[in-house]
């Protein structure tokens, strides 16, 4: 068997279908990329089951693993398994009127 490619080294094996509780237990306080997501209810946030194709301590780490081996999935989920770390995540965006209009007119 030859040496593994960089993609093979980086890309994890896809998991079996897991419940959200199992995902949180297996990857505590990590970002995960999920595919084949089944939600508890349509349009809901809560996940019934999914398969994990990437995980890591940073937001970017699971995306890197998706790019390395799971490009065939055109819809992926990106979720954090821990709690939100702040109660006030809102930035103050400084926009003049012209810039604000650019956002409004494009939406």
């Amino acid at each position: 068997m030859g040496p593994m490619s960089a993609a093979e080294k980086l890309a994890p094996a896809i998991s079996e279908p897991l419940t959200w509780a199992e995902i949180c237990a297996r990857y505590p306080d990590e970002w995960v990329c999920l595919v084949e997501i089944e939600h508890e209810v349509p349009n809901g946030v809560a996940i019934r089951s999914a398969r994990v194709v990437g995980h890591g301590k940073t937001r970017r780490a699971p995306f890197d693993q998706v790019d390395a081996g799971w490009e065939q999935y055109k819809l992926i989920g990106h979720y954090f398994t821990g709690r939100i770390t702040t109660s006030s995540p809102r930035p103050q965006v400084i926009l003049d009127d012209a810039a604000r209009d650019l956002f409004r007119h494009r939406s």
Binding site: N43, L75, P89, R106, S107
Partner: protein
């Protein structure tokens, strides 16, 4: 009139909904804060990058005040933003590192103002209908 029912979760007193950003490479679903105090919808750079965009695709540079100072973001027109059961094609977002774990963005008023949104916290449920022109 189309009305959609959607569900949210509450984390740290924030209303968290599911939103999907579509770009040239793929669509990515993440957890967004439903934020009526935010004029502009915000997406973190890692999510924008994964959908196939970069700062070169931005239509404007933005400046953002944070607790540690002033940082730059950029305005980006994504192919589609889907949230609350509705899809908005060619939608403008501000790409900026929120710096907090657990969320991928803020669903702001430039999205919400196109809809009537009825919030039912006791049921963790939103009723959303599009405002007809």
């Amino acid at each position: 009139m189309t009305q959609h029912e959607t569900y949210f979760v509450i984390d740290r007193d924030l209303i968290i909904v599911k939103a999907t950003v579509t770009g040239p490479r793929r669509s990515v679903t993440g957890r967004f804060v439903l934020d009526t105090g935010s004029a502009i919808t915000t997406v973190v750079p890692e999510l924008a990058d994964s959908t196939g965009y970069s700062a070169r695709d931005g239509f404007i540079r933005t400046r953002v005040h944070t607790a540690i100072g002033s940082e730059e973001g950029y305005g980006l027109c994504v192919a589609e933003l889907k949230a609350l059961g509705f899809a908005m094609p060619s939608f403008a977002v501000n790409v900026f590192d929120l710096g907090h774990d657990g969320i991928d963005g803020l669903l702001g008023m430039n999205f919400l103002s196109s809809y009537n949104v009825e919030l039912r916290p006791a049921e963790l449920r939103l009723l959303v209908s599009k405002i007809e022109p």
